[in-house]
Symmetry: C2
Subunit: 235 residues, 2 copies
């Protein structure tokens, strides 16, 4: 179980993978294998130490695949977590002693995030992950190390992204209704939005264009369809 | 010259301090003290290894102050640089052997940036910096390690910030003319902007508000004054 000598014991990567399922925002967590003595279940973001000879982006992709079998995601580096005591809590002691050659080393973690359509990614489990699954962002258990903090910061980044209109286009169908768009915003912002105000705001969004088309095959009055366009630079 | 045992030899911080002088964008570089054998002058971003017991933000503030005597800046973490070979170039060898206890260690650097009014910060020099001064961003010499890359990435972040209207308010007087605002945008984007198009774009900016006031004490026709307002959330 102990890592090879090629491992850099001072630097890790952690991946916050958000999934959207047309209604809710979830996050991918692994359950860590028991280090023997412990009884409590341990949940964590997928993350591990980097190899000495790999770059950080490369490490993030590799670690995510090893632990959850997911690959090909666009991982965006968003923050480095370096509190000197981020891995010295009592709750993490047994795990560190089982899995790390230098359980006392200060580990700085470079965190990445991604937002995907949940249905397109079926996670598996490998390495020290016993399993991995999607969790509602409002039902997150206590996580290993400072992973609750990392998740919180990733959520804040995601919310900033959406407020600057920088996400969305691959999370909805090519042509979508305003209700679908509102559900995406509500899931990410984690609060209900007033329908009328939302529609007013959308009218001012340069990257959302109304189409001369309506839904088909619905029993209710078919809603107008919209699409995303590339944001033009204003200046 | 060698660092104390309290130093973490694997993680450093680097600071990209941009200065605006109402016309040009500059960046703060230090000239590193000669390691003896070398003759070539060595320029670098202010940066150094972190202490084992300090957080990353704290390290960035301390290192900046030690090398350039500047303090109290708002430093924003923007990226972690972790190419396995970022400090293994021949050009950096002598310096590493003189100043580092583990010249071969892989060092991951957490980079910070700040944008300040240049006139408010007079840099000095300390530690392994022989001097520090402001350099025009178009006249940057070859820098130590991967510092040219770090600077480039910081510039890209800064340009993204301004395109989302997130900077500016403390770089200009409280009340300013559109020419002053245009010079700020031109300096950061590093390209001339068309005056008419710029004025049209400003009209759409929620965070710039025209005032019922004009310049006073100028020999030419006094220009209208503007001020910054807090960006309101759209949704």
């Amino acid at each position: 179980m102990k890592p090879s000598s090629n491992i850099n014991p001072h630097v890790s990567v952690d991946c916050v993978i958000f999934g959207f399922d047309e209604n809710k925002l979830k996050v991918l967590l692994i359950e860590q294998k028991h280090p023997g003595k412990e009884v409590k279940r341990r949940f964590a973001l997928p993350g591990d130490l980097v190899y000495e000879d790999e770059g950080l982006d490369q490490a993030a992709g590799r670690v995510l695949e090893e632990l959850t079998c997911l690959k090909g995601l666009f991982l965006r580096q968003f923050y480095a977590f370096g509190d000197p005591h981020r891995a010295s809590s009592e709750k993490d002691r047994d795990w560190l002693e089982t899995y790390r050659t230098k359980p006392d080393a200060r580990v700085i973690s470079i965190a990445y995030y991604s937002l995907v359509k949940m249905e397109e990614y079926q996670p598996g489990a490998g390495s020290f992950a016993a399993s991995s699954s999607w969790y509602d962002i409002n039902e997150i258990p206590e996580l290993a190390f400072d992973h609750n903090l990392i998740l919180e910061k990733a959520l804040a980044c995601l919310r900033e992204e959406i407020s600057y209109d920088r996400i969305g286009s691959d999370l909805l169908p090519k042509k979508f209704t305003l209700s679908q768009l509102q559900r995406l915003y509500e899931a990410i912002l984690d609060r209900p939005l007033d329908k009328r105000n939302f529609r007013k705001a959308v009218k001012k969004m340069d990257h959302i264009r109304p189409l001369d088309e309506r839904q088909t095959g619905v029993s209710h009055k078919p809603a107008q369809l919209f699409r995303f366009v590339q944001n033009k630079k204003r200046i």
